[in-house]
Symmetry: C2
Subunit: 245 residues, 2 copies
C-alpha cells in the first residue's frame, strides 16, 4: 500500500507521500511516490502514485520517453493541466489493459494504479487532479480541498478538521504529516521516508519548500510524540459517560 | 456499512455499535446491530453484526428458532463460548452459500456478514470473538484487546492509543464513542443511534451499563464538540516544519 495526500490552498499546493511499497509481506521496499517535473520556467507538475507499482513506473517512464522523443508531448504542448490529467489517465488505462488480460487465469491481476497530479502552467491557476485507474479524473471538493490515494482512511479525520482553502502552507504541511503519521501507526503498509513539498502559486519554480523525513528525523519524532501526548491528554479531559442521560 | 467495536478488559466486556445500514445511497435505514442474549443467570452473550443485512438477520433468527425449538441448542448446551462462535460461523456460511450461488450471474452477490461475539458462561472467563464470513473466528490481540467490524479504519487510531486490558470500562466506553464519532464524521455510512454496553466480569447479568445515544444526545454532542476543539488545540500546539532539519 501507500499513502499520499495533496492539498490545494490559496497559497499554493502541498504534496506529501510515504515511501513504502509491498507486494505481500515479504516484498516490502522503499520507492519514492513523488515525481517532479519542471520545464522552461513555464510549467511545474508533481505526480503522486499509488497502486500497482509496475503500472505507475511504466506510466512515468512513458511520460519521460514522450518528453525526450516528442517535442509535441502533452506535458509541454498544452496550456491546461486537465489535458495532462487526461493524458496520464490514458497511459494508466493502457498499462492496465496490457497486463490485466495478458494471461489466462481465474483471478484477474489488479494492474490498476491511481495518481494525483498537481501543478501550474503559466497564465493559469494551480490545479489538482486525482486520476483513477480507469483513466477518468476529478478535482478536490471546494469545502475540503484535498485529495488522497492509497491507504486513505486512518489519516482522513484530521484533514477534515483542519484543511480549508485559506489554511497556510505551514499548517497544511504539518497536517499532512500528522495524517501520514496516524496512518503509519495503524497500518504496516505505509512507511518512511516521508516527502513533503510546497509549491507556491505563480512561482513557477519546482518548489518553495521540500523536506524528506527519515524515520528518525527529529521533527517527525517530536511531532509524533507530542501528538500522541496531546491526544491522550485531550481524551482524558472528556467527561466519562454518566448514568443520567 | 456499519461500525461496531468490542473491547475485552480485565473489568469486563464493552460493546459499541452504530445503527445505520445502507443498500446504496437510496436505501439508508436504522437497525440495531447489538443483539443480547441472557439465559438462566448462567450465560450472557452479545452479538454485533456487520455486512449483508439479510444474512445477519437470517443467522440471528435461526439462533432464536434453535433456542425455542431445540433444548439442545448450542447457545444453551455448551460450556465454551468458542463453541458458540463456531456455531454462528456455521450459520453465517450456510446463509452465504444459500444466496451467493442462488442465481446465475456474472457478478456474484456478496452475502457475507461478519459478527463479533462476546460473553461469559458460568465458571469460565469472559471471551470475545470475531467471526468471519467464512465461518472461522479469532480472539483479540493481547496488546490491543479490541475487535472491530464494518467501517473500521477511521476509528482505529484512538483505540490503538488508549485501549489496554487494564483500562477502566468508563474510559473504554468513552474511547469507543470517540472512535465511532470520528467514523461518523468521515463516513456517511455510519450513523446514530449509538448503543454502548458494559458487561462486568462474573456478574452474569445482561449488563451493568447500557446507553443508547440519539444524534442529539447531550453527552454525545458534548464529547463531539469538546473532542473537535481539543484536537484543533493540540494540533495548533505542534511546531511547524522549519527549514533547519
Amino acid at each position: 500500500m501507500t499513502y499520499c495526500v495533496a492539498i490545494a490552498l490559496d497559497e499554493g499546493l502541498v504534496f506529501c507521500s510515504d515511501s513504502r511499497t509491498n507486494a505481500g509481506p515479504d516484498r516490502v521496499s522503499k520507492y519514492s511516490k513523488m515525481h517532479r517535473f519542471f520545464y522552461n520556467e513555464d510549467r511545474v507538475f508533481v505526480i503522486l502514485s499509488a497502486g500497482n507499482l509496475a503500472t505507475s513506473q511504466a506510466v512515468l517512464s512513458e511520460v519521460q520517453r514522450d518528453l525526450e522523443q516528442d517535442r509535441e508531448s502533452k506535458m509541454l504542448a498544452t496550456s491546461y493541466v486537465s489535458d495532462i490529467a487526461e493524458y496520464l489517465g490514458g497511459l494508466l488505462l493502457k498499462q492496465r489493459k496490457k497486463y490485466e488480460f495478458s494471461v489466462e487465469q481465474t483471478t484477474m491481476i489488479d494492474a490498476g494504479a491511481t495518481l494525483i497530479l498537481g501543478g501550474q502552467i503559466r497564465g493559469r491557476k494551480p490545479e489538482l487532479y486525482m486520476i483513477y485507474p480507469e483513466g477518468n479524473f476529478i478535482i478536490p471538493p471546494e469545502t475540503h480541498p484535498y485529495l488522497q490515494i492509497g491507504e486513505t482512511k486512518y489519516g482522513k479525520p484530521i484533514l477534515d478538521r483542519i484543511i480549508r482553502k485559506e489554511t497556510s502552507h505551514d499548517i497544511a504541511m504539518k497536517c499532512a504529516l500528522v495524517s501520514i503519521d496516524s496512518t503509519m501507526r495503524s497500518s504496516g503498509t505505509v512507511g518512511p521516508p516521508i516527502e513533503c513539498l510546497f509549491y507556491r502559486t505563480d512561482s513557477l519554480q519546482p518548489y518553495e519548500r521540500y523536506f524528506i523525513f527519515e524515520e528518525s528525523n527529529s521533527y517527525l519524532v517530536k511531532i509524533r510524540s507530542l501528538w500522541d501526548e496531546s491526544i491522550r491528554e485531550a481524551f482524558s479531559k472528556l467527561p466519562n459517560p454518566a448514568n443520567d442521560f
